[in-house]
């Protein structure tokens, strides 16, 4: 459990130039290990999404260093050529809305990334089925997203995030649109994934009731990231 998943050093992010410059993250330092379930909780507008996007190499930081696994991806400038290739191989995304592609059925939505990674149809089909069974959605293979409920679609979104066997899943308020009961079930599912598939998950949330499920809690205070380790007896 101590192999590096994400390491961030002196990470700074500001928007705008000169006079109108707004600093959002001002020197973040933290590191996360493989298989950790991490919560990120902070008020609206404090930079949670911004941080997640930088970790996913979808948003360029202002300065600092980001290491994903054993790879330095950013060191005051991008160290990788193809951010999208990195994302499709190593990172999964889950959002507040499911953001499934409306014109693809469930199976196609989930297998899009593995196909893009050049995997064989037979392998992909097998994996999609396994993932859906794992998430208890095995009978929805050929449904369209519009035919499923919000909670079901969110589970499909989780399935999509798992399809490329990522090392890291970045989840931006994945439970915000769900009621308490479904939120807890999604969080339990995410936790199970970290345990069984050795995936590191950072989950942005506003709901303090979900914190006990996590190994670590990150907060943003005065533009800095604070890390709080949940002691074992508190973890559910």
């Amino acid at each position: 459990m101590d192999k590096n998943a994400i390491k961030v050093e002196n990470l700074v992010k500001s928007f705008g130039e000169a006079d109108s410059e707004v600093v959002v993250i001002d020197g973040a330092n933290f590191s996360l290990s493989k298989g950790e379930f991490v919560a990120l909780i902070a008020p609206s507008g404090s930079g949670k999404t911004t941080l997640l996007m930088m970790l996913g190499c979808a948003l360029e930081p202002t300065s600092g260093k980001i290491v994903i696994g054993d790879r330095i991806v950013y060191d005051n400038k991008w160290k990788i050529k193809d951010d999208r290739a990195l994302r499709r191989k190593k990172i999964g995304f889950i959002f507040q809305s499911h953001y499934l592609i409306p014109f693809l059925n469930i199976e196609e939505n989930i297998s899009l990334l593995p196909y893009q990674n050049g995997e064989k149809p037979k392998v992909v089909k097998q994996r999609v089925k396994e993932i859906l069974d794992y998430l208890d959605m095995g009978d929805k293979l050929y449904n369209m997203p519009s035919e499923l409920s919000g909670g079901q679609n969110q589970r499909i979104a989780i399935a999509r995030a798992l399809a490329n066997k990522p090392d890291i899943i970045l989840a931006d308020e994945p439970t915000a649109a769900l009621d308490q009961k479904r939120a807890v079930s999604v969080v339990k599912m995410l936790k199970k994934i970290t345990r069984e598939q050795d995936v590191t998950i950072i989950m942005v949330t506003h709901d303090e009731r979900l914190l006990p499920y996590c190994d670590k809690v990150l907060t943003i205070k005065d533009k800095k990231i604070l890390v709080e380790e949940n002691s074992d007896e508190h973890i559910i």
């Binding site: 996007m53 409306p102 014109f103 196609e108 899009l112 990334l113």
Partner: protein, 381 residues
Amino acid sequence: MINLAYKDISHSFSKFIVTAISVGVLLGIVIIMIGVYRGMVFDAKSLVDDIKADIWVVQQDTLGPFAQNSKVHEDLKEQISYQNGIKSASAITFETIQMQNCYGDFKVMIVGYDPLSNIDVINMDKLIAGRTINKQHYEIVVSKKTHYKLGESIKLGRDYFKVVGITKESVSNGGDYLMFVSLKDAQMLQFTYTNERVKSDESRGIKGGNPHLVNAIIAEIKDGYNPKRVATNIEEATHKKVFTKDEQKRLLLEKVIKKSSKQIGMFTVILIIVSIVIIALIIYTMTLEKIKEISILKLIGISNWTISKMIVEETVLLGFLAFISGNIFARLVQGAFPKRIVLELSDAFILFIIILIASIFASLFGIYKVIKTNPSEAIGG
């Protein structure tokens, strides 16, 4: 790999088809415009082609009888027929009048020719019923589109004419229907006026028209003679203007329909440009509609190539379907136009190439939008 274009289109199939057909109708109009132009060119030459004359003798210093008015004496025919190289000569008149029957108003060109002449004035291939004129009076051959029937009587001027033959697709240089009568009848029609007109003319000292005028003398030349050389010789001998068949056709194209064809050409160019702009806009809108999905795809790691491929494929398919429906549309409405529309495959093919290039160009807008989209904006805060 999943074909995104195919999935997207089948998901919103009816919308895609309606869009393609709408663009297709626009292209169909372009195709018809080109056909109208072709039709004008075809019609302009059609009468001169039908009349089996090698040379046309007309009034001096005129471009007659179509591009300009021309009047020559009927007996010029005798003089021409004695010229070196001439096989036979005949007089001919053209007069456009307005007519009316139970099918509506229309313009007809009345062609007066000598039924005894050896020079065919009616193209036998176009005679679909009856015969040509063989009496000197009161017989008429009409275009099918005038709706007159064989044996029917038509009142022209003061007299009744019996329909003895019907032609199809024979039109004047301006695309109007044709009616053929004998030269004698035509002269009578052209130069005899109503009683009132004759009275009023006489009170002015005008003695009435000269019924022995015609618009042109047409002639066939003997085998082995060069039409141009014969024409030049006749010009020198008679002080008339003489055109060969080719010159007469060129004259029709240059003088008679040049302006209108330029007009149509301009119109066609504008229509093509408008179609290209509309196709580009549709593609751009189709891309914008999917911008959310596109940024999600980019965010989860789908390559620009995969996304751009979807847009190009959709665009090309749209262009292709539009082209097909445009052609179908053009062929469906073709018959409803009063004048000839000539739809040529080569024109359609060139238009297809233009639309294809335009579609690909249009999809560049879409691709540009795809590349510019910031994946982190996908989830909008």
